[in-house]
């Protein structure tokens, strides 16, 4: 049936995978000296942990197989290394935007724009592809939230 197509395509791995990746990234973070030193402000640590969470989620969800994860990793790498790969994407975006402007459905487009801003890598996708990516992204996000919740619960003093 029509619904049979989607669930197979947007499968998300189990919780263990997310947990493992997150812990791995956290441990990588810890090995960095700037992180473990107490003179660090909490906000910086928060940002780093958040970034680690997203990056690990992107890796756990399938690395470069998914559009949103790919763009997430690109963004993260760009902040570190200032890669110039961004240029190529921009050209693709403009072509797609031209295409999109031709067949705009006003009701859809407004909300789709907001969704594009939320989902990483949403700027370069058609609306139908955006929906698939959003579904997968939501699933992965919820998994990541559960993993982090478990971690926090486990580590919180009893």
């Amino acid at each position: 049936m029509a619904s049979a197509y989607n669930p197979i395509y947007t499968d998300v791995p189990e919780k263990d995978v997310f947990a493992l990746h997150f812990l791995q990234t956290l441990s990588n973070l810890r090995t960095q000296n700037s992180f473990s030193s107490p003179d660090n402000k909490t906000s910086d640590r928060v940002k780093k942990i958040k970034k680690a969470a997203y990056v690990s989620m992107a890796r756990a969800a399938g690395g470069a197989n998914r559009l949103w994860s790919r763009s997430l990793l690109h963004q993260a790498a760009k902040r570190n290394n200032k890669n110039v790969r961004f240029l190529r994407r921009k050209r693709r975006v403009t072509w797609l935007m031209r295409r999109r402007s031709n067949r705009g459905d006003p009701i859809e487009d407004v909300a789709a724009e907001r969704l594009r801003n939320l989902v990483p890598g949403g700027g370069g996708m058609e609306t139908s592809k955006l929906m698939e990516e959003t579904a997968h992204y939501i699933k992965c996000l919820s998994m990541q939230v559960k993993v982090m919740q478990c971690l926090v619960d486990g580590l919180s003093p009893k």
């Binding site: 029509a2 619904s3 669930p7 791995p13 189990e14 919780k15 263990d16 995978v17 947990a19 493992l20 990746h21 812990l23 791995q24 990234t25 956290l26 441990s27 810890r30 090995t31 473990s36 909490t42 928060v46 942990i49 958040k50 969470a53 890796r59 969800a61 690395g63 067949r103 459905d105 859809e108 407004v110 909300a111 789709a112 907001r114 969704l115 939320l118 989902v119 609306t127 139908s128 929906m131 698939e132 959003t134 992204y137 939501i138 699933k139 996000l141 919820s142 998994m143 939230v145 559960k146 993993v147 982090m148 478990c150 971690l151 926090v152 619960d153 486990g154 580590l155 919180s156 003093p157």
Partner: protein, 340 residues
């Protein structure tokens, strides 16, 4: 007598509300059925209609007979002719007969009303001009096509062979054939009274795809079923994504507060312990690789942790215990088959 031409199953099938893929499957199922049964079943009904038209000219009679033959094959017990061509043929004959004389139109009208083809009557006038352009060749082609059901489905070659007409008819037949041939990938049903150019068809197909995906999203996002309409649903989805992201941020803040250096060191050691159990753990590789080695951990996880705990003399008891319980709870929940 006239209603006999319309079978109840056809009514349900001819409804435009059928989803695209359902129709596709129905059509594929019907591919195998024979035409012979069709024609034989329809003959008594056709004879009845012919008697009704006794008063008309012979020429008109013949033309109406040919039209009704197509109609019968379209409406008969096997409505698998491919709704597209049969309906177009019917439309063609309706408008054609209307252009010739009034009587057959009335009967057609009665038939149509019974068969839920009200839209065809309304769009009859629109299609008149179109039909006048493509009279004989198209009907001839349709008769041939009616005789060979499968050619409709499989498509282009046979239909294009049958047309020997002006560029108009060839264009339209190729369009019809491409519509049918689109069964392979995108099946779009052109509705009566709506434009049938490629752009609007593609637009409709795109919108159907998007609505399908919206339905799937609706299942995922909790609390989305109450809100109807695409805009509301999209807003709900956006809110959900935003809430998830804020949750991640909040939890990361909590983690940052909770984690002291000691716990970090402990964590490192535990992580090393995990990695020794796993043959290969590569962060960049996709999840499938990691899934398999994690399986034995589900059973052995707690045991390994206890072993490590004993060996670590420097580790502090409290955080390690909490880590143990937390990771155990993690694995327990995951082994339970934690589903989103």
């Amino acid at each position: 007598m006239l209603e006999g031409l319309v079978s109840p199953e056809n009514l349900s099938l001819s409804s435009m509300d059928m989803s695209v893929l359902e129709r596709l499957k129905w059509l594929r199922q019907q591919q195998q059925k024979q035409v012979v049964s069709q024609s034989s079943d329809n003959s008594p009904e056709l004879l009845q209609i012919l008697q009704f038209h006794e008063s008309n000219n012979d020429e008109l009679l013949q033309s109406t007979f040919s039209h009704f033959q197509m109609l019968g094959s379209g409406f008969g017990p096997n409505p698998n002719m491919g709704f597209g061509p049969s309906r177009e043929a019917m439309d063609g004959c309706i408008s054609r007969t209307s252009s010739l004389q009034m009587d057959p139109v009335d009967t057609m009208g009665v038939m149509l009303k019974n068969s839920e083809e009200n839209r065809t009557i309304s769009s009859k006038n629109k299609r008149k001009s179109e039909v006048k352009r493509r009279e004989e060749e198209k009907t001839e082609k349709k008769i041939k096509v009616a005789a060979e059901t499968e050619s409709n489905m499989k498509g282009k070659s046979s239909m294009s062979n049958n047309t020997e007409a002006s560029s108009d008819t060839s264009k339209e037949t190729s369009k019809g054939a491409s519509e049918i041939q689109k069964l392979d990938y995108i099946h779009v049903r052109s509705r009566r009274g709506q434009a049938t150019d490629r752009h609007s068809l593609a637009e409709r197909a795109r919108r159907e795809k998007i609505s399908k995906k919206m339905k799937y999203l609706q299942d995922i996002v909790p609390g989305c079923k109450k809100v109807t309409g695409q805009a509301g649903m999209l807003d709900e989805i956006i809110n959900y994504v935003q809430s998830l992201q804020t949750q991640v941020e909040f939890l990361s803040m909590k983690l940052a507060v909770l984690n002291s250096e000691l716990e970090l060191a402990v964590e490192d050691l535990y992580l090393h312990a995990y990695f020794t159990n796993l043959p290969v753990v590569n962060a960049s590789k996709p999840s499938i690789m990691v899934d398999v080695p994690l399986f034995p951990l589900d059973q052995q996880g707690s045991l390994d942790l206890s072993v490590i705990n004993l060996s670590q003399t420097t580790s502090i008891e409290a955080p390690s215990a909490s880590w143990e319980t937390q990771s155990r709870s993690l694995f327990n929940t995951s082994s339970l088959g934690f589903h989103y």
